[in-house]
Amino acid sequence: MQIKSLILKISFLASLLVICYFGFVYNITQGHVDRNYYKFTYKASSLILGISRAHDGISPAIIEQELNNSIQKPMLNFAFEKTQSSYGAVYLNAIKHKIDTTSNSGLFILSVSPGNFLITKGLKDSANIELDKNTILRKMTNFNSHPNYEYVRKCYDGSLYRGLLKPQKMFVNIHPDGWLEFKSRKLSKEKQDAIKEHWMKLTNNGYRQVDKYQKKI
C-alpha cells in the first residue's frame, strides 16, 4: 500500500514537472527566445545565406516587397554568426532541411566574405569537425516547427522564467523572417561621452597589452 502511494506521488510530481516544463517552453516560444529561434520555425522557398553580415544586413521582407511576385515566398534569413555558419558540410545539411523542395522559383542570396571560410587556427580538420558538433546547425534535427521544443532544449541557454517577464528594451529587433535588425538610436550627449570614454579605456587597455608584449619581445 505504501509503495503504491509512493509510486503515485512520484508519478504525479514527475508529470507535473514535465507539464510545467513543456508549458513554460511553449510560453517562451510565443514571445522572445533568442536571435536565432525564428530561423527554425518554418520551411522556406527562398533563403539568405551567409554569416553575420547577411544575418544583420539583409531583410527578407524588403526583398520580398521589392521583387514583389517574382520570387517564391516565404523568404527566410538563414544566416548566422560566423562560428555557426561557415560554409561546409554542416551548413549544407541544414540548408537541405530548410528548403521547401516543392518550390521551383526560389531566390537564394549567398553572402560571401572571408568569415565564411574561417576555421580555428592551428587545429587539424578532425578537431575543427569536433568544434562543428557544438554549432546550432549540427545540434538541431528539427528545422521547421513552431513551437520548436528541440530548439529551446538544445540551443536556448537562458532560463524559462524570462518568458514570464516583459521583454527587455533591446537595441536589436528580431524579425520572424530571421532578420536581425539593429535599431538606430539617438543618444544623449552623456551617453555618447560614456561610450567614447569606454572605447578610449578599451583602446588604452589594448595599447597597454601591446606595450607589455613589446617589452617582452
Binding site: S126, G158, S159, L164, N205, Q209
Partner: protein
C-alpha cells in the same frame, strides 16, 4: 550519460523499477549492465579500458591473496599500481609531460625532433576517458588493501566489476572503498520507503544545485576566466568568489545526486562533503572537502610517508602536489595544489604562535573576531588559489592575477540583464543558508519533518523553481574532466 540530461531521466527510473522487480540474485547483473551502459553511452570504446582495469585488479587481488611469498605479493601489487598509474599517465598526463619536455628541448634548440615525436605518436589526439582518475584510484585502493590484508579479495567477478563501475559514483566519485561497498552488494535489499524518499529529495536538491545555482554562477565565472584582460579588478574579484561557490555547488551537486541515486537503490555511499564552507580553518576545510579523495591520499600516501624520515611539512607538500596533479595535467593545477599545501603549512606552523598571541592579548570579546578573521583568511586563500585551478592555462592565470588589482573599471555586473545578476546573488545566499544549517546530506530533513500540506507546497514550489530558474544547457559537471 550526464546526470543532468534527459536521457538519464528515462534511464534511472527504468533501472530502479527493474532492480526492485528482479530477484536479489540477478540485481548485481542488472546494475553491472546498467553501469556499463551508462559509461558506454559516453564513449563506447572507453568501456574497454574500464573493463581492462577491472579484470587486471580482480586477478591481481586474488593472486596477492593466494600467495604467501612476500616478494611475489609485492610484485603483483607493483604490477597493479603500474598498470593503473600507467593508464592514468598515458591518457591524462602524457600530453602534459610531452609538452613540458618539448618545451625544455625547444629551449636547447632541439625543435625538429620534438615535432616529429609529437606527430608520430599523435600525442594531442589522446582522448581523456571520463572518470579515469576516480576508478583507477578505486581499483588501486582495492589492490593495496588486499596486499595489506585489510580485506579479502572479492571472488565474484560481477560484484567486483560492479564495485569499480557502479554508475552513481563511476565518473566523479565518491571514491569508494571495497570494504564499504562490496558487502552492500551481498545484502538483500528490500524496498525502504523512507530511504527512497530521502534519495529522491537528495537527487532533486542536487539537480537544483547544479542546474539553478552552479550553472548560473558559471555564466559569470566562464566569461571572466575566458578573457580576464577585458575586465577590471572588481569583476575579476567577484569572478573568483563566484567560481569558488560554483566549484563547490557543482561538485557537491554531483555527489548529492550520486548518494541520492544509490540510496534509492538501497546503498549507502560515503559522504564526500561535510559543509566545508563552515570550516573554521584550513585543516578543517580539507577534512570536509572531497573527503573520499583526501582520505585516499591520507591512507595511501600521507600515512606511509609519515613513516619515512621526511618532515611533516614536506609530506604535506608532496600530498598537495599529488592532489593538484590528480585534478589535472597542467602547471596551473600543480601550482593550485602546492599553494594550498603552503597555506596549510602556514596554518599548522603558526598555530602555537597565534594561540600564544591571542592568550597574551587576552581580550575575550576579541576571540570571536579572531576566529572570524581566520575564516576569512582561509576562504580567501582557497578562493584565490582557485584562479590557477580554473584558468585554462598557467599564462591566463597570471594574466588574471595581473588584472586583479586594476581598478580603473568599477563594473561588477557583466551579465546581459541586471536582474540575472541579483538573482545569482540571491540564490547564492539562499543555498548558503541551507548549507549552513543542514548541508546537502541532510537537506531532506527540511522537508520530511514538515506537515503534509507544507511538504506538498514545498514540492510544487521546488518543481516550479527548478523548471523556471534552471540554466537551460546541459553543462558537464566540472569534475568530469578529472
Amino acid at each position: 550519460m550526464l546526470f543532468n540530461s534527459f536521457d538519464f531521466l528515462f534511464f534511472f527510473p527504468l533501472v530502479v523499477i527493474l532492480y526492485y522487480v528482479l530477484a536479489h540474485k540477478y540485481r548485481a547483473y542488472l546494475l553491472l549492465i546498467a553501469s556499463y551502459f551508462f559509461y558506454f553511452y559516453w564513449e563506447p570504446s572507453l568501456v574497454l579500458l574500464l573493463f581492462a582495469s577491472t579484470v587486471i585488479d580482480y586477478y591481481v587481488g586474488i593472486k596477492i591473496h593466494n600467495t604467501n611469498n612476500q616478494k611475489k605479493r609485492k610484485l603483483f601489487l607493483y604490477f597493479s599500481i603500474l598498470v593503473n598509474l600507467g593508464m592514468l599517465f598515458y591518457f591524462k598526463y602524457l600530453g602534459f609531460f610531452a609538452e613540458t619536455s618539448f618545451a625544455i628541448l625547444d629551449f636547447f634548440g632541439i625543435e625538429h625532433a620534438t615535432e616529429t615525436v609529437s606527430q608520430t605518436y599523435n600525442i594531442k589526439k589522446i582522448l581523456l576517458p571520463v572518470g579515469i582518475s576516480f576508478y583507477t584510484f578505486q581499483t588501486m585502493s582495492y589492490s593495496i588493501d588486499v596486499y595489506r590484508k585489510l580485506i579479502k579479495p572479492e571472488r565474484s567477478f560481477v560484484k567486483y566489476a560492479l564495485y569499480v563501475s557502479f554508475f552513481p559514483q563511476l565518473v566523479a566519485g565518491p571514491i569508494e572503498r571495497a570494504n564499504r561497498l562490496i558487502p552492500q552488494f551481498y545484502k538483500k535489499i528490500e524496498i525502504n520507503i523512507p530511504a527512497i524518499k530521502q534519495g529522491v529529495i537528495m537527487m532533486a536538491w542536487g539537480f537544483f544545485l547544479k542546474l539553478v545555482v552552479a550553472d548560473r554562477l558559471g555564466i559569470y565565472a566562464d566569461a571572466v576566466f575566458a578573457n580576464p584582460k577585458n575586465y577590471g579588478g572588481p569583476t575579476l574579484i567577484l569572478g573568483v568568489y563566484f567560481f569558488s561557490f560554483q566549484l563547490y555547488y557543482d561538485f557537491s551537486a554531483y555527489t548529492t545526486i550520486a548518494i541520492g541515486a544509490a540510496k534509492i537503490l538501497g546503498f549507502n555511499l560515503m559522504q564526500n562533503f561535510n559543509r566545508p564552507m563552515v570550516a573554521k580553518n584550513m585543516v578543517s576545510l580539507w577534512q570536509r572537502w572531497h573527503i573520499s579523495l583526501l582520505k585516499w591520499l591520507r591512507d595511501y600516501m600521507l600515512i606511509p610517508l609519515s613513516k619515512t624520515k621526511l618532515s611533516r611539512y614536506w609530506i604535506i607538500l608532496i600530498v598537495f602536489f599529488s592532489m593538484g596533479l590528480w585534478h589535472g595535467a597542467g602547471w596551473n593545477f600543480i601550482v593550485w595544489g602546492l599553494l594550498n599545501g603552503v597555506f596549510l603549512i602556514f596554518e599548522v606552523g603558526t598555530k602555537k604562535h597565534r594561540k600564544y598571541l591571542i592568550n597574551k592579548i587576552n581580550i575575550p570579546f576579541l576571540f570571536p573576531v579572531f576566529e572570524f578573521s581566520w575564516r576569512i583568511i582561509w576562504y580567501h586563500s582557497l578562493a584565490f588559489s582557485l584562479i590557477f585551478f580554473r584558468s585554462p592555462s598557467f599564462d591566463i592565470a597570471l594574466e588574471y592575477l595581473d588584472n586583479l588589482f586594476v581598478f580603473d573599471n568599477l563594473q561588477f555586473n557583466i551579465l546581459k540583464y541586471s536582474y540575472e545578476f541579483y538573482l545569482t546573488i540571491g540564490l547564492l545566499i539562499f543555498v548558503q543558508i541551507i548549507h549552513y544549517y543542514k548541508g546537502n546530506d541532510k537537506v531532506y530533513e527540511l522537508i520530511t519533518k514538515r506537515t503534509q500540506p507544507l511538504r506538498w507546497a514545498m514540492y510544487i514550489l521546488f518543481i516550479f523553481g527548478i523548471v523556471l530558474f534552471s540554466i537551460n544547457r546541459q553543462n558537464n559537471f566540472i569534475y568530469f574532466q578529472f
